[in-house]
């Protein structure tokens, strides 16, 4: 029993990365209707920048907020400079741009920092905590707190602030938002910025456990896309829960289902997603848009 629990905990720890990345993907999708394939690479870039800052001797207490701000500016800037010009050319053009951004960002990271896997120290230290029969690494606890904070903050911004209301209005009906004097372009840039900031959190949580390399988010991106599908594209909570579920499921499957080793464990979450989509196409937490015909 306690082993099952421990496996669940370690699944949740990996799931945190998918959860944060899935949240970032869902934010851009809700705001613009586009899948940003480069979201994972943005997170990798953020992880490398945090690594550079910490090597330069900055304290993590400073790095985390600085990183979040830098990521926000980066995300908003990318939207403004690279995404905006093709915005009018349809969803396929946008998708192509984000795919190009994936390759481009990956190449830039590899060019600057090389392709070797480096070990990154955990921002939360190497302590191990015991609660009853379970062990938690400081990285898992700190990462969990960080992702949870990001999720709650995003939720609060979207639910309770005028900025959040404007962001949702632009996502819902951009033409009508313009008629209320809302600058849709600014809101799209802000949406990308917030997503990139959340993605930076994913990078911070991933790098110490997975090892820092340009390939940091290659698998995680696919699993995060799966997580968003599972949880529902229209739900931020769904994206996070979907990410955690996928982490736990793949971990438990590789431990307890005979024949599924480390490599095959990826099959399990996708089988689950297939089932969910058959039964509930809008995802576990998504709701079909309520529009009266």
């Amino acid at each position: 029993m306690s082993e099952l629990l421990q496996q669940t905990v370690s699944g949740l720890t990996t799931g945190l990365v998918y959860a944060a990345l899935a949240l970032a993907i869902a934010l851009v999708f809700q705001g613009t209707g586009t899948l940003n394939f480069a979201q994972g690479e943005f997170a990798t870039l953020a992880a490398f920048v945090s690594f550079a800052l910490s090597t330069a001797g900055l304290s993590w207490w400073l790095i985390v907020p600085v990183l979040v701000v830098l990521a926000f500016v980066f995300g908003a800037g990318v939207e403004r400079l690279l995404v905006r010009p093709v915005e009018g050319n349809g969803p396929l053009a946008l998708l192509t741009v984000t795919a190009a951004l994936l390759l481009g960002t990956n190449a830039v990271v590899a060019l600057i920092w090389g392709t070797d896997v480096r070990s990154m120290p955990s921002p939360f230290g190497d302590a191990v905590h015991h609660v009853g029969p379970l062990t938690f690494t400081a990285q898992a606890l700190g990462g969990g707190a960080l992702v949870l904070t990001a999720m709650v903050l995003c939720g609060a911004i979207f639910r309770f602030t005028p900025l959040g209301l404007r962001l949702r209005a632009v996502a819902d009906n951009p033409d009508s938002a313009r008629l209320l004097g809302i600058s849709t372009g600014l809101m799209l840039a802000v949406g990308w910025g917030i997503a990139a900031a959340v993605g930076a959190v994913a990078g911070l949580v991933a790098a110490p456990t997975l090892g820092l390399s340009p390939e940091l988010m290659t698998n995680a991106l696919l699993l995060a896309l799966a997580a968003v599908t599972l949880g529902g594209f229209s739900s931020r909570l769904g994206a996070v829960v979907g990410g955690l579920l996928i982490g736990v499921l793949s971990n438990l499957a590789s431990r307890y289902v005979p024949g599924i080793g480390g490599d095959l464990q990826l099959v399990v979450p996708f089988a689950v997603i297939f089932l969910v989509l058959l039964v509930r196409p809008q995802g576990l937490f998504g709701r079909p848009s309520a529009v009266r015909a």
Binding site: R168, L179, R292
Partner: protein, 249 residues
Amino acid sequence: MSGLLEVTGLTAGYGGVRVLHGIDIAVGENEIVAVLGANGAGKTTLLRALSGTVRSSGEVAFAGRSLAGTSAARIARGGLGHVPQGRGTFTDLTVEENVRLGVISRPASTRGQADGDVERIYETFPVLREMRRRPAGALSGGQQQMLALSRALLARPRLLLIDEPSLGLAPLTSADMFSVLARLRDEWSLSVLLAEQNARASLKVADRGVVLARGRVVASAPAAELAADEGLRAAYLGESPDGLTEVSS
């Protein structure tokens, strides 16, 4: 008459197709002007050109300032509201959030009156208060029209463009809508440019009427005069002399 909105030689269209061929129109302070015309006369395009959602050329002066080259969002912030055809509902937001969007879009100088204004809206349209927690997409057509009007009013525009408020509404609801419009002008110190196919009802609330046909102004006169001119209505508004609106295809 002090001209809040002065338009001269406005042309606009979609792609290569020109829809408006040099429109002159003016709206004074606290005036309701009805823009009448059959389907395809250019009423909607005129409103869109004024709010900056369709490219146009020609002179548009609003409150003494030229709107040439101004973005739609900036025009709206300058006090020109637009209730679009189709009502522009934010369907996934709740009714209350739709209302709040209007409030946060008002000029800073009117922030203090926000609570009172919201209360006034809920008194004018009690059904919106009842439905405030529901997603706005679940409202009926008439309720969405009330919501669209409320959202635009709460942004405290000086001039409100309203596009076909009676479209798709049952006759009784539509009559309610027109009687509400007449009240709103005084309560919210508004000027209104109202595009309508229903000439009879809109001329009852309007001060003046402007008739469009194929993108040109063919008549402009006080509302009572237009309402009495049966020949004109028969020629341009698709109405037979007995006042019944023909079903246009």
